[in-house]
Amino acid sequence: MKGLLLIFVPVAGAALAAAWPSERTRPWLLPAVGVVHTALAFWLLMHPPVVAPAAWLGFDQLARAVLPVVSLLFLVCAAYAVPYLGLRAERPNRVFVASLLAVLGLMSAAHQARHLGLLWITTEAVTLATVPLLHFNGTPRAFEATWKYLLIGGTGIALSLLGTFCLGYAYILGGGGGDLTFVTLMAHGAALSRPWVLTAWVLLLVGYGTKMGLAPMHTWKPDAYGEAPGIVGAMLAGGVTTVAFAALLRVRAVVDAAGEAAVTSRTLLVIGLFSMLVAAVFLLGTRDFKRMLAYSSVEQMGILASGAAFGATGVWAVLFHVWNNSLTKGALFLSAGTIRRAAGARTSEEVRGMSAITPQSAAIFVAGMLAISACPPFGPFFSELRVLRAAFETGHGAAAGMFLGCLLFAFFGMTRLVLSIVDGRPRGGVRNARRRIRETAGVVAPPLVLLGLSLWLGLATPETLRDAWAAAVAQLSPAP
């Protein structure tokens, strides 16, 4: 029941935001809903409810393992949004605030969807609700990015619908009735029709993989992340991608139950490593620091996909990595947003010496870059270490070598760009910006909190979270 509140509270908040009369006070709805949502999500994390097996929606173990971090990220982004929307008072924020709240509600629904059809409907709804967020800036470039997001994302989501139907038909062909909940599908795994299951897996991997931003379906990502405001980038990279990844994990459990575990692992490994490779190559070349964050996100998605190929310990490690990725990426996007506003530009040719203009945000940005490229003692280091250990345990030595190589090149690419932005003497025009742009606590504290959480997660991973991830792994791969 409380799980449903996670959906209804933000949706009611969205309706309220749409009706709220004052532009100035409307953004406060974001942290208000965020606090309630986070409190609920963490209460449910501590006291997991009993979910009826046949329930279509429920706060089950996988939702418990992932949804709280999305909620936490939203809360921090909401705290950043209040001063941000204050700075951007020239843009009307009614649609923006309402859509952001609707996205939170729909993401909560998608994470809790235990029915094949419902999962697709909620995921598609999340995609549609993010569209108004992407073109908040209203520039021609923002519309171009939105169009690509709609067209590529729409095609991907259409393919996942096709995959959903194929999986449903595999079940009916195996003598099943109309109950398309994941629990039932997994229980009837052996009876599913193999050709349809394999077709479904390919389509769903491509479909939800597009939404995650796995290469080669990642092409919308740099444009969308580059043009959207920092908060939206953070929510896309740390929230929406986790929805698609959790969807893939749920579907994969069914395909595994049908006896095709070797196929799912191999395809996930190949597409994951390919994403990491593509991301590393583009990270070495890009000059735009917001697009850099997008390629880094492609790399993180590659880590998630390939890690999920390394057996149960690998899945545990990537659930850990989901938390680290969401928190660290959030810190990076929020600090990058401040730097971008102060510099008025985004490429390494135009931006220099930001450590002199926005010293605090620049420091957070550098620390976040080190964190996301797996430098100890931040969280991503520990989760990637566990992914590697899982790789060696399952005998994927060569894959582990490639994994490390890609991480190294991505690290080179990111340090090169980040240091060139932060170091040096500021350009003339930008130097005067120091007086205009003051780094208030409102824009510095949120990314700092996220970075601190990432550090804390690495140094002292709470026992509750370890249990939650282990329970989610047990739900996905039940003992025969």
Binding site: A158, G178, G285
Partner: protein, 213 residues
């Protein structure tokens, strides 16, 4: 029963080729609408016993695919005052040939997938594969936003045909959710097209090239 279903699917497959060969936007929109109506009627003929749930889904599909979405597109086209001629990046004749080849491959390839006895002998799977292929040709081979949306809708019609295999087992809620999502998607696309038109003074997606590596 299966012959009337096959007739409708055959009609839809013919409309695919017609859509690939059309050079004018309004006619492509009309073709997509006609295809939507033809496909929406199929559930009425698939049934021996006539269930009101299925009838509701069918009526909803005809209304959305045949009326609501084409109207949205026509309106988008009018307000954006765009050129009615379609500029292809894959020519009309090559795309028709591609489409015909794809249709033949679909009929052949569909035999690889096992079917329930009640679906054997229908063109559901070949029709679906052919429509999906046609949709992709239109998505890739046309440069204006509206014709790309038409491609997306034909792709979606193909997926709908696969969905018909499940019509007895998926509850009404799922079907209606899917229809609702599609309508909202086209609505959102319409708004974005309007904004693109204002920002770029054209709906030619070839002009959307600022963002690249």
């Amino acid at each position: 029963m299966s012959s009337s279903v096959n007739l409708l699917i055959g009609l839809a497959m013919g409309l695919n080729l017609l859509a690939l060969g059309s050079s004018r936007m309004p006619s492509v929109i009309r073709i997509v609408a006609a295809q939507g109506v033809a496909l929406g009627l199929i559930p009425f003929f698939m049934e021996d016993r006539f269930g009101w749930l299925v009838a509701l889904v069918a009526a909803g599909t005809v209304a959305v695919k045949g009326l609501v979405i084409p109207n949205l597109l026509h309106r988008a086209m009018r307000t954006a005052k765009i050129d009615r001629e379609i500029e292809p990046s894959i020519g009309f004749v090559p795309s028709m040939l591609l489409g015909a080849g794809g249709t033949m491959a679909a009929v052949d390839g569909a035999q690889l997938l096992p079917l329930l006895s009640e679906h054997a002998g229908t063109l559901l799977v070949p029709g679906a594969l052919a429509s999906i292929f046609t949709g992709f040709i239109l998505l890739i081979g046309r440069v204006t936003a509206i014709s790309q949306v038409c491609g997306y809708l034909i792709l979606d019609n193909g997926i709908y045909l696969i969905g018909l295999l499940l019509i007895h087992s998926t509850p009404l809620l799922v079907e209606s959710g899917i229809l609702l999502d599609l309508t909202v998607a086209v609505f959102v696309i319409g708004i974005i097209m309007d904004r693109i038109q204002r920002a770029f003074d054209s709906l030619d997606t070839r002009k959307l090239t600022v963002l690249r590596e």
